[in-house]
Symmetry: C2
Subunit: 83 residues, 2 copies
C-alpha cells in the first residue's frame, strides 16, 4: 500500500498565532536563531491500489475540497517512499 502525504499550511499572508506562540517561546527555552515558525497539518493517507496520475488527481481534489480551507490555506500532495 502506498502512502500519500498532504501538507496543509496557512497561506503566508495569513496570521499564524500558533506558530507565533511557538516562535516566541523558543528564546525563553534556550533556543535562539529561529526567525519564524509556522504550524500546519500533515495528513498521511494509505492508498489502496496504484498511485497513478488518476489517483493523485483524486487525492488533490479530496485535499482541496475537504482537508484544506483554500481561502486561507495552501496544500501540497506528495507520494512518500516506503521506509
Amino acid at each position: 500500500m502506498a502512502r500519500v502525504v498532504v501538507d496543509v499550511m496557512l497561506k503566508p499572508e495569513i496570521l499564524d498565532p500558533q506558530g507565533q506562540a511557538v516562535q516566541r517561546a523558543l528564546p525563553r527555552l534556550g533556543f535562539d536563531g529561529i526567525a519564524d515558525v509556522r504550524q500546519g497539518k500533515r495528513f498521511e493517507l494509505e492508498v489502496e491500489g496504484p498511485v497513478d496520475d488518476a489517483a493523485l488527481a483524486r487525492i488533490r481534489e479530496l485535499a482541496q475540497t475537504f482537508l484544506a480551507n483554500t481561502v486561507i490555506e495552501d496544500f501540497a500532495v506528495k507520494v512518500e517512499e516506503k521506509q
Copy 2:
C-alpha cells in the same frame, strides 16, 4: 534563510481519532480506496545562519523537548530545499 521542517505524528500504536474521523467521512464524500488516515502536525522553522550538523542537533533537541510529546508522538526533522 534555510527552512527546516519538523513533522510530528502520533505513534502507530496510538489511536488517532482525528485521522479516523477523516477516513470515515471520505466514502460518504465520494472518495473510496483510502484505507487509513493519520493526522499530525507540521512545523516550518526558518533558521538563521547555516543549517549544519550542530544546528540540526539543536533543532532535534527542540523538537524532542518542546514540539513533540515523545510518549505518544514520533517526530522527523528534514531540511527543505528552497523552492
